[in-house]
Subunit: 495 residues, 2 copies
């Protein structure tokens, strides 16, 4: 049998009813035959006329498929002699056929990850859906003025100026940076102007960026013990070695940190409202921390993650405002005040670090999307942000009060709950009676089955012997649902 | 003079006409006196009544300032004895007064950056505003249907479902991932489903993420020489050691790469349309590259950055579609097709790597903002994306043709320009006459003074002896402005 005849008998089957165009079906099937070795190098294909006749399709259909195969190197054309399967395809490569990774296979492989990749993969499981009761850090998104937001978004994008479309600033949209600087100067006593503000997607990107600029791989960083896992993840991803430093009643213990890692040059703290212990760092400790940084050419990352919510008097001033030596990198976010999926946060960096931070930002992730920045700038400038803050501050304060009273009445014998002056959660430590019956990890698991999202205190410790307790987020739980939610919790703890 | 009297004489000056509330002014001034040492530890302040009288303000105003200073630890209160400056403020910290970094100072310091930070800071200067003629990679944003886009954004945010507001997926919004998977299967012959798609901000974040999962600090990566600086920056930021591998007429030279770094396990290439040389990698090389990856438990990052724009026939299939062994991490972006500041791109990862990539994504940057994702999903699903692509493809093809003809007529004796089958720029190599007079770097600098944004070929080489030439982006230059822009270029080159 001549080769051409053999090719003519190739099992090509075109479906006229398919969504896929005929020439594409033919291309796919011929390509598959070449890759699988059924058509081998040097083999001549039938002419387009012959194949078209055999398949009862137009000659254009066959020609289109052949052209594509020629263009991609599967076929070679010889003028007047027809089309041939390319002789230059390496045998080894063709031999990998059939090793396609099976999505439904029983044994998913974990091939070739780096050590860093394995560490990151094990670090923090992407969480599933959380219930409002009692998710930590979850705001009441139902309360957000989406009518205003939708209008601002639409307005920003109807006839956008060219500055919003291309050549965007690595540091972010200037009007938004100005609005943020104004807000921080007034509300947080941060000393800054718009030049020092860098827009990022959130605290993790902010801290990762700072770690890239200020640390080399393997450098130690002082972090709070217990502390926020997101901060730790971002630092570890940047190659930092974490030194967990105890937090006591005055906040982060600067002296202990210095003893534990005298060579450390970066500390990452939440002085306004430590997570998860809710301690406010004392002025003495603040000044000591700044002095530590100045003395050793070091740096402090101030994670001011939810300081907008303070219920006793006005918010405490930020650590950054005390800094006379440009040692503080301040980190804040809009996600908690507005809605988590917004993903807009910011850094305020010392004036002489703005250029290195911008350049590093450009190298790591070019610039932030401009999609939400103009609407957010207007939202702040026109007072919607402040109004939303006032409204939710009042709402959350009432919800905390309600939660505390219901908890006290229903599970006061099991949990020791203290009011919190700030933030969106309270901490409930296990009383001995409860601690004797279950761990906080067990409580979290049992609660999940009842549709409650709890966080346990022990999980925020790097050490394995952390204190036992629960963090109860209340911001997203309407007052009238509080008693029912606490009742579900009580049944978990009493079980 | 009694201490109280001295305090009463403190130089407090309140401005009634200021925007800043009176209690805030008083707080600020007292705090400054404490920090500057004018009020020392143990010193007693006048009573609120006395100070209110002295300053002619209400007693509430003074009380508010004192309360804040007490809350923050600057003052200590003793019941019945008044308020005292705190004795616990560490002397060293107070002594740092006056060292405030001066923004306008003549000698900006570069203090305490890490080696990595210095490398990143030097890597790529954030660019200023670029002109459409002849910016590389700049699409025609004027042509984008912002009426549709604005409507879709407004609609998405008027009554957003809870899934868009909180608990978002680390991998991105599922309807968008489905739309992307559908598009890639049809248009790029990528084999994937939505589970394999991970939304990111762009190619840099995509490549950085892949490098974190697949590489450890210091591991070698094969990159194209010459190649795209954004790719190199993202890899270097992730700690990779770059091995620049020559690109010849068949594309990335796999054998050379293997000789140069036998231990390398990752290669980062742009097979469809190499940047900046516009070479398409041959099928033989593609198969060889995949075989190289399979053999050594290695990986290939396929940067498919502008393959939407192919003018001769339909786009070539992606390398990923040839991969039988799950070795290819595919990277694409919407920024070039829509508008650069959108900052939405994606990875398609092998099925068994979806979990590690999601977890790493969550650790590095939680999840992508949901702000633009639903509108983009609808934009694709309802055919606006394909229509925009068709329209711009035609437009850019005409613009390239126009640019080539004008260049040939006006500076054909200086530049050797070849048509490009794909992308948004052409490459113009220096003819000997021009090369004898100036370098491509000089041409770029002179052109900048004439308001032209050029890119030079030599700058894309890691080696210092790269070829001389210019990259001319034409996508954003209307046909009727082409002759004038080329004329300006001619005057630069003839000078």
């Amino acid at each position: 049998m001549r080769r051409t005849d053999r090719a003519a008998l190739l099992p090509v089957a075109l479906e006229r009813s398919s969504d896929k165009p005929m020439h594409r079906q033919l291309y796919d099937q011929l390509r598959e035959m070449i890759l699988s070795g059924r058509l081998v190098g040097g083999e001549r294909l039938p002419s387009t006329r012959t194949l078209a006749k055999d398949l009862a399709v137009s000659r254009n259909t066959v020609a289109a498929a052949f052209d594509q195969l020629l263009a991609e190197g599967y076929l070679e054309g010889k003028v007047g002699a027809g089309s041939f399967v390319s002789g230059e395809l390496p045998e080894e490569a063709l031999a990998t056929k059939g090793k396609i990774v099976d999505r439904d296979g029983a044994t998913p492989r974990r091939r070739g990850l780096s050590k860093r990749g394995q560490r990151l993969a094990s670090l923090r499981q992407p969480r599933g859906r959380r219930s409002p009761a009692f998710s930590v850090g979850m705001p009441d998104v139902a309360d957000f003025p989406f009518d205003v937001w939708s209008r601002l978004m639409s307005k920003a994008w109807r006839r956008p100026p060219i500055d919003l479309l291309a050549n965007a600033e690595p540091a972010g949209y200037l009007p938004l940076r100005e609005a943020i600087a104004g807000y921080l100067r007034t509300a947080r006593a941060v000393r800054c102007d718009a030049e020092q503000v860098i827009i990022v997607s959130g605290a993790q990107q902010a801290i990762g960026l700072a770690a890239h600029v200020l640390l080399d791989d393997g450098d130690p960083v002082l972090v709070e013990e217990p502390g926020y896992p997101g901060v730790r993840g971002a630092l570890m991803a940047a190659g930092a070695e974490l030194i967990p430093v105890p937090v006591d009643d005055e906040g982060f213990d600067v002296d202990a940190g210095e003893r534990m890692a005298p060579e450390a040059r970066l500390a990452c703290v939440a002085p306004s409202h430590q997570f998860p212990l809710s301690v406010t760092m004392t002025l003495a400790r603040r000044l000591k921390l700044l002095e530590w940084a100045s003395r050793g050419d070091g740096w402090v990352i101030e994670d001011d993650y939810d300081s907008e919510y303070r219920y006793g008097g006005r918010p405490l001033a930020a650590l950054q405002g005390l800094d006379r030596d440009g040692r503080v990198v301040y980190v804040g976010s809009f996600s908690k005040v507005m809605f988590p999926s917004l993903r807009l946060g910011y850094l305020v960096v010392p004036p002489d670090l703005t250029e290195p931070f911008r350049a590093a930002r450009a190298a790591l992730d070019d610039h932030p999307s401009t999609i939400a920045q103009p609407a957010l700038a207007t939202f702040i400038e026109e007072g919607f942000f402040a109004a939303h803050l006032r409204r939710t501050r009042k709402l959350y304060s009432q919800r905390q009060e309600k939660l505390l009273s219901v908890l006290q009445a229903r599970v006061g014998h099991l949990l020791d709950v203290a009011p919190s002056e700030a933030g969106m959660h309270v901490m409930a430590r296990f009383r001995p009676e409860l601690a004797a019956r279950m761990t906080d990890v067990e409580a979290v698991e049992r609660a999940r089955d009842k549709g409650l999202s709890l966080s346990c205190l022990s999980s925020y410790y790097a050490a394995s012997n952390g204190h036992q307790g629960l963090l109860l987020g209340y911001a997203a739980v309407p007052e009238e649902q509080m008693a029912e939610a606490v009742d579900r919790l009580a049944r978990v703890l009493e079980a």
